[in-house]
Symmetry: C2
Subunit: 555 residues, 2 copies
C-alpha cells in the first residue's frame, strides 16, 4: 500500500476521544469534521501547568535520497505514547500549493503518518486560507490607501508587503498591478509569494496570544513614505481587522497519528526566509498536556534546529531536553559522493566519507549543551554491514545511535529510540542551553557566529545592498533581533553542490529582509524562490475524486 | 443593540441539536466548531424522500432605503417553524471581501438573523476559500501549460479564465503577469475577480452531485488555441483535481436562526453575471427534510426571481409553491420620486406613484402561475396611513398583502405572513409553473422574451461584439442554454436612474459571456464590475478582536 492507501484504510478514533486522552478540557475542543479539531486555548483556564519534556527532531542536510525526518518524528511519538501513556507530536502543517505540483506530502509516511492525510494536505482547518485572506486584505488596504489620497504619503516603489496565494504559480512572481485607468488603482510593480512565505505565517508561529499577534502585526514594516521614513501596519490602523481574520487560525489543530497519538499540527513557515518551525502556541499546548512533546524543525540541523534553538526557543521559554538527529545510510553515501542511482549498492567507503556531514551536525547540536541521540532511519536497501559501520562511526563520537524503522513499522520501529530519548531527557535536568550568539550583539557578529560555529565557514562577504540594510537597522534600533539565515538546505555553504562538511569557505550575503512583526532579520545568501512553479507533469493530472468524496492519486 | 450585539448575545443551541431537530442522520453531520456543520449529503442513504413546500422570497428593485429581504426570509422561517414544527431556511453565504469595505452583512438583521453572524461573515466553513483555491489552481495550471511547451497551442490573448480573491481589491482588476524573464512565466494581461464572481461559484450552486460538479468543471471554456478552436478544462486533464479541491465546499452548511430554525447557508454567486441563488444541493436537502423550505433570490424579482425560476428551477426539478415579494413604504416612496433624506416623512403621493414598481413585479411573478404574497416590511418611520394605503393598493391587484416586522420582532413579526404563505401553498397543488421562455429558442428570442415580458422594454440592441458571440454560440451548439441577464439591479431598464416601471425603452447588450460549466449565457447590459474596491474609510478601520477572540466593530 502507498501512503494515501494506508491513511485511508486507517481506523481513526473520533477526535473527541483523542482530545480526552490528551487531557484537553471538553469545552476547548472545536471539532472540524470528525477527525480534526481546533483547541480554543483562549478559553482554557489559566493554570500554571507544569511543562513536560521537549524532544526536537532534526536531520543531516537533506538529499534527494530522503531522510524521513517527519516519519521518525511521528514514529517516535507513537513509541513514546505507547511506553509512557503521555506523548504528543507537534508538527508543521503542509502547504497546499505543492500538493498540486510534486508528489509527496508533509504528514509523515508509511505507518508513521498523521491522519486524515488527504484532509490535512487539502484545506485542513483553513489556517492557510485565513493567512492568505489576511495577507491580501492588508495588501488591498495599502493600495486603497494610496488610491484614496495617500494621506501617509506612501512611496509605492518602496512597498515590501507582497500579496500571496497557497498555490505554485510562477506567473504571479512578478506582476504589474493597478492598470486600467484612475478608477482601478495606482500602477506599480508587485509580487505574489506562496502563503507559507508570508511574514504573517512566521508571526502566527511566534505569537504568544491574540494580543501578541496584534502587537506583532501592528509593527510590520510595509513601506516607506516619500521622506524615506518607515510606514508600519499600525499607521494604517488596520491591525485589529487583520488580527480578527486570524483569530481561529491562531488556535492549534488537533489530529491523530496512525497509532492514535494526539498530534498538534499548526503553522508551517518556510525554513529559509522564515524559521521553519510549528507554532509556539501548539508546542506550548502540547508541553502543558503531555509528559513528552516531540517536534521537528525544517531542513537540516544547520538551518532548522539552529533557528529552533536561537529564534523559537527564547519565545517558547522552554529548551529541548533532547535532540534527535535523523540520518540514513543512503543520504550519507550521497554526501560521500555516491551517485543517486547507485545508492542501493553497498558502499562503505562513500558512507565513511559522507559521515562527516552527520559528524558536524552532532558537534553543532552538542554545542547547545542539549543531549543528542542519532536515529539511523532504516531503508530496505541498507546492508547490515552499512548499518553496523554507521552505528560504530556515530558511537565513536560518544553519542548513542539507534536504528529506527518508522516507515514500515510505525511506533514499533521506534521503541529503542524512544528508550534512548527517555534516558537522554532524564540526564538533562541540570544543564542550561547555550545559545549560539548574544542577540544584543551587532548584526555582523551574529552572522559571523552562525557561519563559523554552525556552518564551518571562514568569512562573510556582504553586498552593498546588505551593508546599507544593516546600517538602516542600526539607525532604527532594529539590530537587536535574532538572525534568520536564508541559505540552501543542501549544504553548509551557500552552494548547494558542496556536500559533506566543507570548511574555510566564504558566505555571501546579498540582502537583508527586515521582519519586525516576526521579530527577526532574514539574511539572504544566494537566491531564494518564494513562489514555486509547477512541473511539466503536475500532480494535479493524477488527482481525482469519486461521487462519495474519496480522493485518489494524491500521493 | 445593533446586529452583531444581538447575534453575540444570542443563546445558540449546539449544532448537533439543530441537526437532530432537522432530521439529519447523525452520521452525516460534520461539525465545524460548536455552531456550524457541514451535511455530508454524499453519505446519506438514497431514499426517494418526499419534497416539502418551497417558498421563494424576492423583492422590488433594491433602493438605498433598504427592503429587508433576508430579514423577512429568516423571520418567515422562524414563524413557519414555530407554527408547523418543520421549516428550514436556505440562504446564500456572504462574501468576505465586502465585510472589510462597507458595513452590512448578508445574514439578516435585528431579531431575524442567522448565527453565529461573525463566523458566517468571516471564513465560515471555508467554502469561499476552497473556491478561491480551486479557481486559482486552474489558472496556475493554464499558465504552467503554456510555460511548459504549450502542447494545446493555447493563445494567451484569448484566455477567459481569470484569477480571483474574496477581497475588494481594485488594484488587481487589470494586471500584467508573467514578468521577470523566461523562468517566471509568459507575460500576458490578466484580471482578478472577487471569488463570488467566479464561474466555479455558479457551478457549485447548480451542481447536483460530485460527478455532475466534475462534468461541469470539465466543460468550462477557458481559452482558444491559435486556430481559434475552443479549449476546455477537460483538455488540460485537471477536472478531477479541481473537483477534489471542492469536495467539502459542495456539502451544504448548517447553522441556525436566532429562533433556532435550521438554516442551510450555501453558495453565493453574483446576481448579475451569475444567477444569484443559493445551491441546488442545499435547497434540495432542505426540501427533503422540512415541510417548508424558505429561500431567497438576489436583487429584485426582475433579476433574482427570474433567474431562480428560469435557471435554477429546471435543475432543482421543483418549482416554488409560493412567492413572497418584499416591499417597503420607504422604498416605494423612493421609487415614486421622494428624496432619500425625506423618506421619514409621510408622502402618500410618492407612495402611490412608486407603487407601479411593485405592481409590475406582482404581474411578472403571476405570469409564472405561482401564488404570490406581498410582505410589507415595516420600518419605524412608516405611518399607519401609508401602510393602509399600500395594503389597499396591493389588494386591488387581487394579491394578499401582509405587514411584517421581521427586524424588531423576529418570527413573531412574521406570523401573519406565515399563515398567508401556508394558505397560498395549499392552493398551488394543481398548477404547473410556466417558464418565461423556451430554452431551445434562439438566443435573441430568449433575450427579447425577458426584456419584453419581465422588464417592460420594447427593443434590444446588440453591439457588434455581442452579435459575434451569438454567432459563435450558434456555430458551436452553445445556444440552447438559459439566459443569465447582467443588468443593473436598481431599474427594470439598463439605466440605474430609471426607477418606477418604465416602458418602451431599448436594452443595450454589450457582450455575452459563455459559461458552459454553469450552463448559461451571460448577457451583459451596461458595465458590470466583477472586482469591487474599498471605500475611503473601510470598515476594517473599526474591526478589532480581544484576547478571548471576541470580534467588535464588524457591523
Amino acid at each position: 500500500m502507498n501512503d494515501i492507501e494506508i491513511s485511508q484504510n486507517a481506523e481513526m478514533l473520533p477526535i473527541q476521544e483523542i482530545a480526552q486522552q490528551a487531557g484537553f478540557n471538553e469545552k476547548t475542543v472545536e471539532p472540524y469534521g470528525r477527525y480534526k479539531a481546533k483547541i480554543d486555548i483562549f478559553a482554557e483556564d489559566e493554570e500554571a501547568a507544569q511543562l513536560g519534556k521537549l524532544v526536537l527532531v532534526t536531520s543531516i542536510n537533506p538529499t534527494p535520497a530522503g531522510e524521513g525526518k517527519s516519519t521518525v518524528t511521528v514514529g517516535l511519538g507513537d513509541a513514546l505514547n505507547e511506553m509512557t501513556g503521555s506523548a504528543m507530536v507537534a508538527l508543521r502543517e503542509p502547504s497546499q500549493g505543492p500538493v498540486m505540483g510534486m508528489k509527496g506530502g508533509a504528514t509523515g509516511g508509511g505507518y508513521s503518518q498523521v491522519v486524515p492525510m488527504d484532509e490535512i494536505n487539502l484545506h485542513f482547518t483553513g489556517d492557510m486560507h485565513a493567512l492568505t485572506a489576511a495577507n491580501n486584505t492588508l495588501a488591498a488596504l495599502i493600495d486603497n490607501h494610496i488610491q484614496q489620497g495617500n494621506q501617509l504619503n506612501i512611496d509605492p516603489r518602496t512597498i515590501v508587503w507582497r500579496r500571496c496565494l497557497d498555490i505554485n504559480d510562477r506567473a504571479l512572481r512578478n506582476i504589474v498591478i493597478g492598470m486600467g485607468g484612475r478608477f482601478s488603482g495606482v500602477p506599480r510593480e508587485d509580487h505574489f509569494d506562496i502563503t507559507v512565505a508570508s511574514e504573517l505565517m512566521a508571526i502566527l508561529c511566534l505569537a504568544e496570544s491574540l494580543t501578541d499577534l496584534k502587537k506583532r502585526i501592528n509593527r510590520i514594516l510595509i513601506a516607506k513614505n516619500y521622506a524615506g521614513e518607515p510606514i508600519f501596519v499600525r499607521d494604517l490602523k488596520v491591525g485589529g481587522a487583520i488580527t480578527a481574520l486570524l483569530k481561529d487560525a491562531l488556535k492549534p489543530n488537533l489530529v491523530q497519528t496512525l497509532g492514535h497519538t494526539p498530534a498538534l499540527i499548526h503553522g508551517g513557515p518556510f525554513a529559509n526566509i522564515a524559521h521553519g518551525c510549528n507554532s509556539v502556541l501548539a508546542t506550548k499546548t502540547a508541553l502543558k498536556h503531555a509528559d513528552y512533546t516531540i517536534t521537528e524543525a525544517g531542513f537540516g540541523a544547520d538551518l532548522g534546529a539552529e533557528k529552533f534553538l536561537d529564534i523559537k526557543t527564547p519565545v517558547l521559554g522552554k529548551e529541548p531536553d533532547a535532540i534527535v538527529i535523523v540520518a540514513t545510510v543512503r543520504a550519507l553515501k550521497y554526501n560521500g559522493g555516491a551517485k543517486l542511482a547507485d545508492l542501493q549498492n553497498e558502499d562503505l567507503v562513500a558512507l565513511e566519507k559522507g559521515f562527516v556531514n552527520l559528524q558536524r551536525h552532532i558537534k553543532n547540536m552538542q554545542r547547545y549543551q542539549v543531549p543528542v541521540v542519532i536515529s539511523i532511519n532504516h531503508f530496505t536497501s541498507d546492508t547490515d554491514q552499512e548499518i553496523a559501520e554507521l552505528k560504530q562511526l556515530v558511537e565513536q563520537t560518544g553519542v548513542q545511535a539507534v536504528v529506527t524503522d518508522a516507515w514500515a513499522k510505525g511506533g514499533a520501529g521506534c521503541k529503542e529510540l524512544a528508550q534512548a530519548v527517555i534516558t537522554a531527557t532524564d540526564t538533562n535536568s541540570d544543564v542550561t542551553m547555550q545559545p549560539l550568539y548574544d542577540v544584543a550583539a551587532p548584526i555582523q557578529d551574529k552572522v559571523k557566529a552562525i557561519v563559523q560555529k554552525m556552518y564551518g565557514g571562514a568569512e562573510v562577504q556582504y553586498s552593498a545592498t546588505a551593508l546599507k540594510k544593516i546600517k538602516e537597522c542600526e539607525q532604527n534600533g532594529w539590530d537587536k533581533l535574532p538572525i534568520c539565515m536564508a541559505k540552501t538546505q543542501y549544504s553548509f555553504t551557500d552552494d548547494p553542490k558542496q556536500l559533506g562538511a566543507p570548511t574555510g569557505f566564504t558566505m555571501h550575503v546579498n540582502d537583508i529582509n527586515i521582519r519586525l512583526g516576526a521579530g527577526f532579520l532574514v539574511v539572504l545568501t544566494g537566491k531564494v524562490l518564494t513562489m514555486p512553479g509547477l512541473p511539466k507533469q503536475p500532480a494535479a493530472l493524477n488527482i481525482d475524486v469519486n461521487d462519495k468524496g474519496e480522493i485518489t492519486g494524491l500521493f
